[in-house]
């Protein structure tokens, strides 16, 4: 092989499994951003009785490892119960692929994160949380650490794009250090809303620009 990839990885990259979107998914999640070069979206259909993942699909923007890891993670998760699927780690994906080059490990982390976030979103929206902790500032910030600042390729908390967060009676207000008419403002708003809306007690997300 000319590049430091296993046969399996190349095979999955050329012929990925479970590609596409699910219409009206029971849950979905996005991790990464084009700004950092990798982005994965995962869509789930879950059997409400058995809590099994009956269908799972992905979309991916990124390098070969990114596409192959997303493919393998969807294969590992398909047919498993949510509890079982939560136990899948990036190491499982890495092992199945015959070992990723060290600089590409983040791709596996990204795909597994997307799976776990999608499952968590499902739990929030279907009353499956074991303890219903009310959403607070800390939880919001934890989630926003997965939203990428499109100008810098780093998360919006690190780049201080998000200046402040307020949580009040199910309404989350996120104050953003960006003009509303800036090129990326629409994307930032969308991604913040997508991150926070699934939380079980959040009724409304407001993104407030400068």
């Amino acid at each position: 092989m000319p590049l430091p990839y296993s046969k399996k990885l190349i095979e999955l990259f050329m012929n990925p499994k479970n590609v596409g979107e699910i219409e009206n998914p029971d849950a979905k999640a996005t991790e990464g951003s084009p700004a950092c070069g990798d982005m994965v979206q995962i869509f789930l259909k879950v059997d409400p009785e058995t809590k099994r993942i009956v269908d799972i699909k992905f979309k991916s923007y990124g390098c070969a490892s990114n596409i192959a890891t997303a493919s393998i993670v969807t294969e590992l998760a398909k047919g498993k119960t949510l509890e079982e699927a939560k136990k899948i780690t990036w190491k499982d994906a890495d092992r199945e692929l015959g070992g990723l080059p060290p600089v590409k490990v983040h791709c596996a982390v990204l795909a597994v994160d997307a799976l776990h976030t999608a499952i968590e979103n499902y739990e929030h929206q279907h009353g499956l949380l074991k303890e219903k902790k009310p959403t607070d500032k800390e939880k919001v910030i934890k989630r926003l650490k997965h939203v990428i600042d499109p100008r810098k390729g780093l998360d919006v908390i690190r780049t201080k794009l998000v200046k402040d967060v307020e949580v009040e009676n199910g309404v989350v207000r996120v104050y953003v250090d960006m003009e509303e008419d800036e090129q990326y403002a629409g994307n930032v708003r969308e991604e913040i809303i997508e991150r926070l809306e699934p939380l079980w007690d959040v009724k409304k997300v407001e993104v407030i620009f400068k």
Binding site: T30, P34, G37, G62, C63, A64, S65, K104
Partner: protein, 392 residues
């Protein structure tokens, strides 16, 4: 089983040696292997010295220089090292400030950075979104103590050709003592170079991007320009570079330069233009990176970004189909940083990730262009179907 087609489209990195070049070189391995020497020697040594001097003469003529203004080196990297470091130290009595552009080859960039560590001051001049150096910024960068300016002739990634003559005139009108260097490694053979017309003091050449051998290049040093010697060990190359010269390489270099014809260049341009036209016709949302005016672009260079997809995937997929190209994507680099050249051109990370460089040569055929476009169209379709950015 079908033999996998091999299509090499990375000719800005290096090229296949022409058979005539190889044949010219072989005797200098088999028969004429003595150490070159001009006097007080045996006849084989003198004969080989003659071969080197003929090559020097021939290469000098190609760029409008005198033979004694050309020194042979181990390639573009060494020539750039000698030019930047030797040039700056050679003029140290006049000051310690140097100026380069943001999109120089690493051999210029890192030589300049080393000088900055050694007490020189470095100013890096920016470029516009097509990769042209901002002339006003260059003008503002010139100071009383500036001793050396280095701006590449043509960019190896996006193919943009700079207006070196204009820059030399501007710099020299401020201070004629400033030494102007241009890295013409990627231009060698491809683009007309006349040192007198350009007015440069130093100019870098390399052999292997025009079907010559690797590991040999030259530096033009205008008569009277002081260069500090770094490779000690003898008086060769006008006492500027010690060491036994790479005789077969030098002979091959001159041969390659001689045989690269206008017709060849027109042929390659034709392939490149055909490829671009087909890419635009058959694939949607393609962006051209680098100079839009093809007269200001290296004849073999095309650099494209495909919206919604990432470059490393494209490169790997093409590689699986036997097609060799490179990308400016971060995923392709060990550091996971996108191309510093595209970033200097003001690209967003996302746009830099999508860039793919296609560089052609006389060994490519129109059939290869058709094949590559077909594969490329499929790759881009497939990856876009996968991409969460498409159809949002």
């Amino acid at each position: 089983m079908n033999e996998l087609k091999k299509v090499y489209l990375d000719n800005a990195a290096s090229t296949k040696v022409d058979d005539r070049v190889l044949e010219a070189m072989i005797p200098y391995f088999r028969e004429f292997y003595a150490v070159p020497s001009s006097e007080f020697s045996h006849s084989p040594g003198i004969q080989i010295k003659e071969a080197i001097e003929n090559a020097r003469e021939s290469i000098a003529k190609k760029i409008g220089a005198q033979a004694e203004e050309i020194i042979f080196t181990s390639g573009g990297t060494e020539s750039n090292n000698i030019a930047i470091k030797g040039g700056a130290y050679g003029q140290i009595d006049n000051g310690k400030h140097i100026v380069i552009s943001a999109i120089e080859h690493r051999s210029v960039l890192e030589s300049a950075k080393r000088l900055a560590k050694e007490g020189f001051e470095l100013t890096v001049v920016g470029v516009d979104e097509e990769g042209f150096i901002k002339i006003d910024e260059l003008k503002k960068a010139i100071r009383k103590d500036t001793v050396l300016v280095s701006v590449q002739f043509v960019n190896h990634e996006v193919g943009t050709i700079q207006n070196i003559k204009e820059m030399v005139n501007m710099v020299k009108s401020i201070n004629p003592k400033i030494i102007f260097h241009t890295d013409a490694a990627y231009a060698t053979g491809w683009i007309d170079l006349n040192v007198k017309d350009l007015g440069v003091d130093l100019l870098t050449l390399t052999a292997h991007k025009m079907h010559g051998p690797k590991g040999v290049g030259a530096l033009y040093i205008k008569k009277g320009v002081k260069i500090t010697k770094f490779i000690d060990g003898g008086f060769s190359e006008f006492n500027l570079r010690g060491g036994t010269p790479n005789v077969p390489g030098i002979v091959g270099f001159a041969k390659a330069f001689e045989i690269l014809s206008k017709d060849t260049i027109e042929y390659v341009k034709g392939l490149r233009d055909k490829f671009y036209e087909k890419a635009l016709n058959e694939i949607e949302e393609v962006r051209l990176n680098g100079a839009r005016d093809f007269e200001k672009r290296h004849p073999n260079n095309l650099n494209l970004s495909f919206k919604y997809v990432e470059g490393e995937s494209v490169v790997l997929y093409l590689d699986m189909k036997g097609i060799s190209v490179i990308t400016g994507s971060a995923c392709f680099s060990r550091t996971l940083e996108p191309s510093y050249i595209l970033m200097a051109m003001g690209y967003s990370h996302e746009d830099a990730h999508g860039s793919v460089r296609f560089t052609f040569s006389k060994f490519n055929t129109p059939e290869e262009i058709d094949y590559t476009i077909n594969v490329l169209k499929n790759v881009i379709d497939t990856l876009r179907r996968l991409s969460p950015l498409k159809g949002e």
